[in-house]
Amino acid sequence: METLVFGLLNGVSYGLLLFMLSSGLTLIFSMMGVLNFAHASFYMLGAYFAFTISGSSSFWIALFLAPVLVGLIGAAVERYGLRRVHPNGHVAELLFTFGLAYLIEEVVKIVYGKTSVDYRVPDLLNFAAFEVYGASFPAYRLFVIVIAIAMLIGLWYLLKKTRAGLIIQAALSHPHMVGHLGHNVPLIFMTVFGIGCALAGLAGVMAGNIFVTDPAMAIQMGPIVFVVVVVGGIGSLEGAFVASLVIGLLQNLAVGINASFADIFGFIGLSELSEVGRINISSLAPVLPFLLLVLILIFRPQGLMGEKEL
């Protein structure tokens, strides 16, 4: 029971973090057709910027400033890099962001070193929020949930209630039409790319001190964010939200299951001694998103809630 409750709580907070990351990528991918390989690199930049800023001032300033900086870098990347590559097609764009991910990781290694930096949870939030079954749940994780929900509401408001949001929404489903309506499509692209990166940066600020802030954090997170976007479906923020939670829960609950295949499939004669029998469910946790990805792409290519196929 204890593991279940904690699995659920951690799953939700992790899932919401994933949504912060994937909402930006979904926006970018749906509108521009660019599967931004470097999206998780902006997440990493968010964590590192937060480390620097909170070191010299405070976490609260970093919480605001770091995403803005990351967003500006993202907008610059779109303006001076991606836009140049755009005429060569989506594969070229994908490759550009692939190279960018490489580059950002190397620059981070040079500037911050190859090992992890000491980016900590702020003292103000470093206490146990509540206790269940004798174990405590950290307040910071609760804070993550609150910020993520605030972001969710903010994003929802932006998209549904503002004029800019309506244009973005129209561009999500009919990217070609928006240009005909007389809107400045390159500007919209740059803005959306910037906002998407800023959201990734925010996720980095929030997650860098829960997990580890090191140069490998982008490559660890990157593929999972892809999974969320593809599983959720193109052009569907709702789908990305559901997929984020599903994957967050799936991974965190699987970690808590201390049973092997032999325990589960023993009835069909799977032995504890065989290699398959020894595989532990908890050790499968990192693989589950990719299993989900492959299955979804084969059986439901439009994703959980997407309207069109990839």
Binding site: H90, L94, L95, F96, L100, Y102, L103, I110, V287, L297
Partner: protein, 420 residues
């Protein structure tokens, strides 16, 4: 043969065929035969062998990216699985299990080919039903799955230590014990030649041509009676086979395979090799494999930031020369043969010098930063210059070279737009 002359005049002449098809292979063979005569060093052999393996690997990757238009993020899976099978076969030969005792080590790449093709046939079945971004994503997912599975099945993958073997067993072929590195050279050279020849021949087969047609226009291919999924699937299997062949070469060369060989890193590296070399040309990936292997083994001795240079090179190619090194080289020769040779040469040299200046600027920036970041107090001193991160000279040089580079490239571009 009078009745055939009518259509034969549509095909290239015998002289053209010799110059374009036979001659390059004769030159390649001559180079491969001549190399050992120069009495190369051990380091040379080590790097050359890695190049041979990567040439085959990168070409096999280009069968799917360049020729079939499928972007894969998991091609190392087939290299790795083929290589693993070959390492295991190495053990079976050593222990003379069944008929294995009568198979020479020299033929292990064939086992690798088989392993890679089998993996391609299994994994390709669901994934090649789709093309484009979906295919790219499936390849990524599958690569992560296989990599994770590699740590669960120790009997085949050997955990973190991997599986190792000993190549000096079994029957010796051509009097090669494969012990000394100079003997391994003949093994690598032979299989590299076979691999290049085989993959080049593939482009001349109906299926090879059809895969290009499917890449360009999958819909039309359907209406002249072909199943694009079947085309992609078959090409994928063969590409997996050649990746496995490269894996088999690596198995003999290194006598060890670890799960890292299947990971996203080598998959990304082969993508970069092929793309930097130029995916629209058959020889492109060969150029890319040679240059990048050289960079990997040599540059990594000179600078810790070699991956940064690699990333910058890759992005530069994607942005400014999407046809890769081969595109630059062939474009240069085409330009020389063109009408406005003088103007072309001027523009070309201007951009070359501009590029060099920018490169110098980048090197100064990166090298100074690396040393400052390490904090050992080491200082970058090229050509006797003392480039401290705090000295104005450093930043002056950086700004001057970068500025000059950007200016010259812009000038060259303006000229190009002016003439065309």
């Amino acid at each position: 043969m009078t009745d055939t002359t009518d259509f034969q005049n549509l095909a290239p002449s015998a002289g053209q065929k010799f110059r374009q098809r036979t001659l390059p292979f004769l030159i390649l063979a001559a180079i491969l035969l001549a190399i050992p005569m120069t009495g190369p060093s051990r380091t040379f052999y080590t790097v050359a062998h890695q190049m041979g393996i990567n040439v085959v690997f990168a070409l096999s990757y280009n069968m799917i990216l360049g020729k079939a238009g499928l972007l894969s993020f998991g091609h190392a899976v087939y290299f790795g699985l083929g290589g693993y099978l070959a390492v295991h076969a190495m053990g079976w030969i050593e222990e003379e299990i069944g008929l294995w005792g009568s198979i020479p080590m020299f033929f292990l790449p064939i086992i690798g080919f088989f392993g890679g093709a089998l993996a391609g046939a299994t994994i390709g079945w669901p994934s090649t039903r789709r093309a484009g971004t979906t295919f790219a994503m499936i390849s990524l997912g599958v690569a992560e799955l296989i990599f994770a599975a590699a740590f669960m099945f120790d009997s085949f993958f050997g955990g973190e230590q991997g599986i190792s073997g000993d190549r000096m067993n079994g029957i010796e072929l051509f009097g090669l014990s494969l012990g000394p590195i100079a003997e391994v050279y003949w093994f690598i050279a032979f299989w590299m030649f076979v691999g290049i020849l085989g993959m080049w021949a593939f482009t001349r087969t109906p299926l090879g041509r059809l895969s290009e047609a499917t890449r360009d226009n999958a819909q039309r291919v359907q209406f002249i009676g072909y199943n694009p999924q079947r085309v992609r699937y078959m090409v994928f299997i063969i590409a997996g086979g050649f990746a496995g062949l490269a894996g088999g070469m690596a198995a003999v060369n290194y006598e060890i395979f670890t799960p890292d060989a299947l990971s996203l890193l080598p998959s990304g590296f082969v993508l970069i090799m092929a793309y930097v070399g130029g995916i629209t040309y058959f020889v492109g990936p060969i150029f890319g494999a040679i240059l990048l292997t050289y960079m990997q083994s040599m540059l990594s001795d000179f600078t810790e930031a070699w991956l940064l240079y690699l990333g910058a090179l890759f992005i530069g190619i994607v942005m400014f020369a999407p046809r890769g090194l081969a595109g630059i080289i062939f474009g240069f020769f085409d330009g020389l043969r063109g009408a406005e040779r003088g103007a072309f040469l001027k523009g070309w040299i201007t951009s070359l010098v501009g590029g060099l200046f920018m490169l110098i600027g980048l090197i100064i920036l990166v090298e100074v930063s690396v040393r400052w970041s390490n904090g050992y107090g080491e200082i970058y001193e090229p050509f006797g210059l003392h480039l401290d991160h705090a000295s104005p000279l450093t930043w002056l040089l950086f700004l001057a070279t970068t500025g000059a580079g950007i200016g010259l490239t812009a000038l060259a571009n303006r000229h190009k737009e002016g003439t065309t």
